[in-house]
Symmetry: C2
Subunit: 297 residues, 2 copies
């Protein structure tokens, strides 16, 4: 497996692959890999001749006071995990390689970024859209892979790709969960044992919301309140947002109608902010979970 740290090295690597008519899959990550990332890499491995994983803790998507400095990093371990998963090359640039002096260009997606994490973390999705559009231009992949744990992020990237006519196929991959339902996240590492126990409330709350909808509840506020209550029943939890939203526009809804509903939440567990979501397909009088369940390998 190749370890590439400059844009030029990636361009050369990609050009060689292209000369051999090889297709390229890109898996953008911030590193500290877990099974969620590896499930993206495995999907990319199935669908492409060459798999490139980027590992870059992108400063422009962190706000002031967020966890940019303490975000966990473990490049050596990541290399081993990526290699064992069949990744062909890692692109791990230093910050000045991506944002040199004089850097001044940003990509903004309006509309769907007004809600959920976009409301809680101003500028976050501009940082995401900017770095991802850079990675797309550097790698020029045929396909790029994003996890559904970051549902809003995947929607932002899809919108950007359509709007800017970026020639890449976006592939989304189901959230990978621990046995007790906690969605895998590099930030789970921050949790104390008590907090780790409390963190199961996120998925429990989502399940509870889904059950209510499936049993016929159509008032979003009732569903939301039940989810909030589930979260707050655990020690050291604080709600950032709990939302019942249209799964396309991400706009909060008041009445649950036929179509795809997104249950999404962000919860502080101690000093750690965790997110999770579930989509529910609502038929006329029936609802079922949309999520394909993935479990750690």
């Amino acid at each position: 497996m190749q370890l590439l740290s400059t844009v030029n090295a990636v361009r050369q690597y990609v050009a060689a692959a292209r000369r051999q008519q090889q297709s390229i899959g890109l898996v953008p990550t911030m590193g500290y890999l877990h099974e969620g990332h590896l499930s993206l890499a495995r999907k990319a491995r199935e669908q492409n001749d060459i798999v490139i994983m980027s590992i870059f803790v992108n400063p422009t998507q962190f706000g002031p006071g967020e966890d940019l400095e303490r975000y966990p990093r473990a490049l050596e371990r990541d290399r081993e995990l990526a290699a064992a998963t069949g990744v062909d090359a890692i692109f791990a640039p230093a910050v000045p390689e991506m944002y040199p002096d004089g850097y001044a260009t940003y990509v903004r997606v309006e509309g769907i970024t007004e809600y959920l994490c976009g409301a809680s973390r101003p500028g976050h999705f501009e940082g995401v859209a900017t770095v991802v559009s850079k990675l797309f231009n550097i790698v020029q992949p045929d396909r790029a892979y994003f996890g559904l744990k970051d549902y809003q992020q995947a929607q932002v990237i899809k919108r950007m790709v359509i709007d800017l006519n970026i020639p890449v196929e976006i592939v989304t991959v189901p959230t990978v969960r621990e046995a007790d339902g906690l969605a895998l996240s590099s930030r789970n590492k921050y949790l104390t044992p008590v907090q780790r126990q409390s963190a199961t409330a996120l998925y429990q709350a989502l399940k509870k919301g889904a059950v209510l909808i499936r049993s016929g509840e159509r008032r979003a506020e009732i569903v939301r309140e039940a989810m909030v209550a589930e979260i707050l029943s655990r020690p050291e939890t604080r709600v950032d947002y709990v939302a019942v939203s249209d799964a396309q526009t991400l706009k909060p809804i008041t009445t649950i109608n036929k179509g795809k509903v997104l249950l999404a939440l962000a919860v502080w567990v101690g000093n750690t902010r965790l997110i999770d979501n579930l989509t529910v397909e609502v038929a006329d009088n029936v609802a079922h979970h949309d999520e394909e369940q993935a479990t750690p390998g």
Copy 2:
């Protein structure tokens, strides 16, 4: 010559050229072609196997109350001129092809857009950067051609290309002028005979500024005032801005030092806003015009 009106048609056309290893030059225009545009096309013709010209009056780069509706259009004439200049394909999309319902993504270049036309026309360069990044993704050209009459636009595009790692070479081409110095512009068509005469003041003012610098004047305000006086000596003129700026950052300067100085102006002649510029290379005690002069063929 091909006339293409959809993104998919361009993608197919480009894919066929790529299969034959042909290089592609893109000439982005808003149509109503004049010798300035054709000089871009000729340069592209020299340097590439395939020349694609886009013709699109881009609504996102016009502000409220600007001349979007009355901007001159003449696609039939443009087709003939482009074909006669060796253009292989025109991409002339309708507005909904470029900005369909739900469109939400914008590219912003900070810093150099704060000055000159960026200050006079809020949102203008965001519209330019957005549409050009779309065109780059649609055509994926090896090279793209921009005229130096729109000096700030060329700088914005160069900044965006570097920052977003867009794999395209930006080629700038000197301003083409009428015999009396007026820079060619599709908007010159708006001028009455009296205004057309007044419009020669733009280039006269730039020349006057350059002469002052060449004769040793180092106070930017003195240079600026002489340029403003030249403009206002003519009927029906009104200054939007007259600037003596650093040619890289576009920031106004107070003292002219060694290096490249940009003289730039925007002038209302009647209801028509015209722009022009000149760069002057200042050596220790000598200055000379940087502009290669181009005249209509």
